[in-house]
Symmetry: C2
Subunit: 252 residues, 2 copies
């Protein structure tokens, strides 16, 4: 199978991750187009490719649009009708865009600077306005060695939303825990086995069977002690999540 040639639009975390993974998989990179020209030049040098000054000059079998949701409409409007492109954003529906040769290649993962993810850590969710687009995206991901599933915009949006609860809000809870401990000069180490078990149990028993704690038990003394120890902002979060647990498990 001949390697598919890709083009990259953008120079942020997703663009950099796809460049790194594609390069490692021997997938040829036709060029990079990005607003941040200095960074684009740097990436082009690193991955032995060129920068282009116009999106229309990017000649590739598949153009990956690694830009923010807000920048997508403007970028997609610049595509020539025959350019085959896929965006990497999870939330916007493909129906929002008129371009006919459009697809979605959404990495369902939290991508940050300083974390070089393995391709096996990133399940992709893909979609295409036609079979040709879908086939190009599939070929690219197969050559990348990635797992992927075809997933409509509505379903992808649900995964995106669920991901916010797991990743964004999950990280916030770890931040709250680190603040509670940090303010008392206590270290996070004893938290990690608890965190591991929280996840193992939720996966193995299902989160609906793994819920424990004073909110679930309606243990008013402990709830009162906790509330007295929290600052007003933490208290809002504590009360909100405690109420939600008690509403979900009224008779526990």
């Amino acid at each position: 199978m001949q390697a598919i040639q890709i083009g990259i639009v953008g120079s942020g975390k997703v663009a950099q991750t796809l460049l790194r993974l594609a390069n490692a998989a021997g997938i040829p990179i036709a060029g990079i187009y990005a607003r941040n020209q200095a960074l684009a030049e740097q990436l082009a040098a690193k991955y032995n490719t060129q920068c282009v000054a116009q999106l229309s000059e990017l000649h590739a079998e598949l153009i990956l649009l690694c830009v923010s949701d807000d920048a997508l409409p403007e970028i997609i409007a610049q595509l020539k009708p025959q350019q085959i492109a896929a965006y990497t954003a999870g939330s916007p529906s493909i129906k929002l865009f008129a371009h006919q040769q459009l697809g979605v290649c959404y990495p369902y993962q939290s991508i940050s600077k300083g974390r070089d993810l393995l391709v096996s850590d990133i399940p992709f969710m893909i979609e295409g306005k036609n079979d040709l687009v879908l086939q190009r995206i599939s070929t690219f991901l197969q050559q990348l060695g990635a797992q992927f599933q075809v997933c409509g915009s509505a379903q992808r949006a649900q995964y995106h939303l669920a991901g916010v609860f797991v990743n964004n809000f999950g990280n916030l809870l770890l931040l709250e825990a680190s603040k509670i401990l940090g303010e008392a000069n206590l270290d996070m180490t004893p938290i990690y086995p608890l965190l591991n078990e929280t996840i193992a149990k939720a996966i193995l028993l299902g989160p609906e069977h793994a819920q424990t704690g004073p909110a679930l038990r309606h243990d008013q003394n402990t709830l009162d002690r906790h509330r007295a120890a929290l600052n007003p902002e933490q208290l809002v979060v504590y009360n909100c999540l405690t109420k939600r647990i008690q509403d979900l498990f009224p008779h526990a």
Copy 2:
């Protein structure tokens, strides 16, 4: 070193876990005292020990009080002055109780039926009203093969509170995610790599550097789309946690 002889009060998850681990470590179990006599008899038979009808009849070098916070005052009041005992609850302060031979042996872990934890998965936090009590608890945990740290009631309460954010509230977020996906007939599998990365990143970068997402970016379009997809109860949680992220990261 001669094995320390323990007694167990209670028949719930913590009592059962300590019985199992002590038995596996060859620690002699003098007896069990519990309100639920049928279950206590069953556990006594399983671990080749006796049930006692009164707490005062439990003759052991260390009595482990594995009962709920609410039941603790009544149980501790039944101890004879010379009985050395430690409770396993994380939240109540040792100062709440008058008994002089009292300590704390708090397993900092989420213990559920159907999950046989390894002793290495349970860091213990211990405290004692005097050196003799503390030494008995240390000896027990050393013989159990457990990791432990001496930790005052105030610090233990902070760990307990942080644990609620990580475990109880963390599980709630996984439950919300499973509801969002379940209602759309989508499976949880793609969530797991994201969950793993959420935790790996929070540990390696620190949760204050690992925050991502539409709340952090103040990405109003995505926030609006998410809000439109949630039911009223989920929306309360979403809005509360989104606001907290935006308050913590005002200039992100």
